[in-house]
């Protein structure tokens, strides 16, 4: 129901031919000369039903087939002594009327780049399968108000569940955003699966510096096939923010609470998914959000980089994927570092305990790693607060090995930043300098009372 959970296991799109059937069930279907979508009578020793043959989840057994009855219900019928008899095909289904993409003249131009996920999907109500839908026409049809807000251009970049998004994808997203801005977009919206939306937001914050317009990542926690979906409000808010917000930064826009009456825009480097399923899963950490949006009104909550027209961002979209994130835990076996060092990864982000600690038993491995030329940085698994490696001897010793503290950066942001830094330079001193300095609001020198907690 949320993120990928909302989609059937078959998402993104199952080929039309593959129906999810296998084994005995597939044999009977094939032998009977019927196909998914056919009207038929299915009969076994117990049941006799007429309806339409439906696809089946691949994870289900091969002992049943699924029939949709006339009253709309689906049921499974056992393949034991099953007979299938095809009926005359019914009238072809009427396709949804195509809606012309229309918007008022003179509106700001917003580019919507689709990468997949729940927000930009359409459900096939017959099968329950979810597929991406992102022509401007589709969008105006599902959220007609968009036509009143902006002139929309759409680009389908991927159709990926966000757990499958990689640094390569960040790069092409950054390039797409760059191109859209170059072609005159007054703001860019990226629809994204929510699982790793925080990582992508951080990546784009580093890859697109000196932005002239806002870049808003948006997702939804309830799939758009359901009337209660948060997709509509979020998407509308994202287009509004992209076209009207005074700031020119990478932001993540989602529900502020679990009611449909407030949105929040988080700074891309400070945001984390903090709940598996709630609408308000995204929270700013160690920083207030960038802004709230209530009834279309944007209220900035902290200083921001302002919009400026006629400028182009500088595109620095290279990421080094050879970086790993290791979470410390009691009893962490030292030899898990052996393959990392052997394989020659370029960086390790340690998610240490407390102020930035790992057990003494793995010190020698950290030392080996740094001596082998790997960059090792330390963030905290506390999530809130900053690391300080001067307080205890453990921290001091790690510093002496060359471990770089990540300040009050989120561990995920530290990972993305280290990938980005290593994608920009191989110079040891430059790496340390870049990693430690503020690039996109990801790190600060002051920790405040509220820390972004609401």
């Amino acid at each position: 129901m949320s993120g990928k959970g909302s989609q059937p296991s078959s998402y993104p799109q199952r080929p039309q031919a593959a129906s999810g059937y296998k084994g005995k069930a597939l044999e009977i279907i094939t032998a009977s000369g019927v196909q998914v979508g056919d009207a038929l009578i299915a009969k076994n020793e117990k049941l006799s039903v007429s309806g339409i043959l439906m696809p089946r989840s691949e994870l289900d057994d091969d002992r049943h087939i699924v029939i949709k009855l006339k009253d709309g219900y689906n049921l499974g019928i056992s393949v034991e002594s099953l007979k299938l008899q095809r009926l005359q095909p019914e009238e072809p289904r009427r396709a949804a009327p195509a809606v012309e993409a229309k918007s008022k003249p003179g509106l700001p131009k917003v580019a919507i780049i689709s990468t997949g996920g729940t927000i930009a999907s359409r459900v096939d109500y017959k099968t329950g399968a979810v597929s991406p839908a992102l022509t401007a026409g589709d969008l105006y049809q599902s959220v007609p108000e968009l036509g009143e807000i902006a002139e929309i251009r759409t680009e389908i970049l991927y159709s990926l569940l966000s757990e499958n998004i990689s640094p390569e994808n960040w790069k092409s997203m950054a390039q797409s955003v760059y191109r859209q801005i170059k072609e005159g977009a007054d703001g860019v919206v990226i629809t994204h699966g929510t699982d790793t939306m925080g990582f992508t937001a951080a990546a784009l914050s580093f890859a697109l510096q000196g932005l002239p317009v806002p870049v808003i990542l948006v997702g939804s926690q309830r799939s758009s096939d359901r009337p209660s979906s948060d997709a509509y409000l979020n998407l509308k808010g994202a287009v509004l923010a992209a076209s009207r917000a005074p700031f020119a930064e990478v932001g993540v826009l989602m529900h502020k609470g679990i009611s449909d009456n407030g949105l929040v825009i988080h700074r891309g480097t400070r945001v984390r998914k903090m709940h598996t399923s709630r609408r308000d899963a995204f929270k700013s950490v160690n920083s207030p959000p960038l802004a709230y949006m209530n009834d279309g009104q944007i209220e900035a909550l902290q200083p921001f980089r302002p919009r400026s027209s006629g400028r182009l961002p500088s595109l620095k979209a290279d990421f080094d994927p050879d970086v790993v994130l290791i979470k410390s835990f009691p009893g962490i076996p030292p030899d898990i570092f052996d393959p990392l060092i052997h394989r020659g990864f370029h960086g390790i982000v340690l998610e240490g305990t407390g102020l930035g600690h790992v057990p003494e038993k793995i010190f020698h491995q950290i030392r080996r790693a740094t001596q082998a030329g790997m960059t090792v940085v330390m963030a905290s698994q506390c999530i809130y607060g900053r690391v300080n490696m001067n307080v205890y001897s453990t921290g001091r010793e790690l510093l002496s090995m060359g471990v770089i503290p990540a300040g009050d950066m989120l561990p995920e942001t530290a990972l993305v930043k280290l990938m980005w830094v290593l994608g920009q330079t191989t110079d040891k001193l430059r790496i340390k300098e870049l990693f430690s300095s503020e690039i996109a609001g990801e790190i600060s020198q002051r920790s405040t009372y509220k820390e972004g907690r609401e």
Partner: protein, 637 residues
Amino acid sequence: MSNRVGTSTNALGIKVGIEIHQQLDTASKLFCACPTALREDPPHHSVKRRLKPTTSEMGDVDSAALFESVKQKSFTYEAYEDTVCLVELDEEPPHDMNGEAVQVALTVALMANMTPVDEIHVMRKIVIDGSNTTGFQRTAKVAFGGFIMDGSERITIQSLCLEEDAARKVSEEREGITYRLDRLGIPLVEITTGPDMHSGEQAARVALSIGRLLRSTGKVKFGLGAIRQDLNVSVEGGARIEVKGVQELGLIPSVVEMEAQRQIALLEIREELRRRGVSEVRSDPADLTATFSSTSSKVLRKAIDGGGCVFGARLAGFAGLLKRELQPGRRLGTELSDRAKTYAGVGGIFHSDELPGYGITAGELEAAAKALNAGEGDAIILVAAPLEACEAAIRAAVARAAEALVGVPSEVRSANADGTSRFMRPMPGSARMYPETDVPSIVVSSERLEAIRTALPEPLDAKAERYVREYGLSRDLASLIADSPHSSAFERLVKEDSVPAPFVASTFEYTFKMLKREGADVDSLDKEQIREVLIMSSRGALAKEAVPEVLRWLASNKGKGVGDAIASLSLAGTEESIVRSAIEAAVSENIDLVMREGERAVSPLMGDLMKKFRGKVDGRMIHSLLKEEIARRLATK
């Protein structure tokens, strides 16, 4: 009355089908681990949502869904921290389907001679009146193709579905509806019969049979709203009308008869319109605000002064038809008015058949008719509201007038307490269901069915028979206790705790009812406490006469124990020795009487002793001890 109409409508091809929704009394809800309890204490928090209709699977926006969306509402959901979780709030995916509920559904299916499906698939049925936080109801077909007998007549049971109950409406305002989530997700069994019944009485009888069949599982909820009936009624030439929300069985006959009456009257109106040569109804609304600028009609005045308008429309050829009664107190005009209310949110409409009146003068009516070009054979309707609402109201009312040419418009109606009904929404299309992909399907194995079949619950009639036979209950008391929610507690007390059956049954059926009438909340009494009270009483530790008092005290002192009740009511059981010595004393004092009258002296002595021990010692115990003592004295004489 219903009898007379029943006979008359019988000849008109009346067909009735029933849909019964019964809440199950399972430990937890259908798709989460929350308890299935309704609450009246103030909710802990609330959230606000909006719903958006989605195009249905056939590419159309479902008419019912579209209709609800016309009314741009916001929904407030009230929740309790300890009994409502993120699943009801639509903030967490549903958990697996409750196995206990599936078991009950399969049991009922087999009792109704139905064939369960081989694999149960959960569907999402689009419902966007806000009563489900998701915008759909989760429902699954469990079985179909069964029957029950009504005398010698076979009534088909078409379908049995297991579904989640909707949220409970708390209040409705112009801008939104407030629901409470305690009810959302309680398992419901939905049983649909064929249109096989021919009268309201028969429908009521069949509804009762199905209700008792459900109750025999011992797993259903009791009380107001726990079982709800919808009726499908049609007469020949009419249309299938769904009447929802019939809360009491007793109301079924009049709902059926009155719906039949309504359909017949509508068919008569259609004939009359045909005779008059009316073949279409056109909507040509006009702004009559100027005509009524100096009206003294309160309703019109208020609208005009508030910046609104008065709109009118002519219904050509409708003169005199709008006052035609369809159901007691409800006319064709009422149907137009109901549509305007639901679609436009106005307070109602006026029509020329009821005017002059409501402060609208004959002169004003004439002026309005003139402005609308309405002649003698025409009717006019008026509405006073803000501009947009006026337009929508006239549109809705005229649309309903046009349907008079068709006869009976197919629609969903809502039952009123007097058996009449009012428009609720158009009949939903069939295409508003798609698979619930978050919940795995459930295979119904033949082993599982066999196990259920060999241990089907005892039908309530057989149970009552057994109570008469085994426990010596009267027939009346036996069927009362067999039908009641206390039957399993009754059997346990009698079988395991050896408490006399008539005492247990009469406590549950008579004492409880008496206490309830007095306003004591006995329904919420702890089952174990009731058991403790009855056991104590049967062992002589608590007088039978004191049982009502103890139960009453416990009902109003939640969280306290039986011991507290006894202490607080000074009912501490009197030691047998104290009773014995009191009896010895009484016999000694009246030894002459005893010697003279022998055993007959028991009665006069009982009176005094009972005065002393009433409520503290069981009268029967005193009686037997007294008899014993007298016999002893006589023997030792």
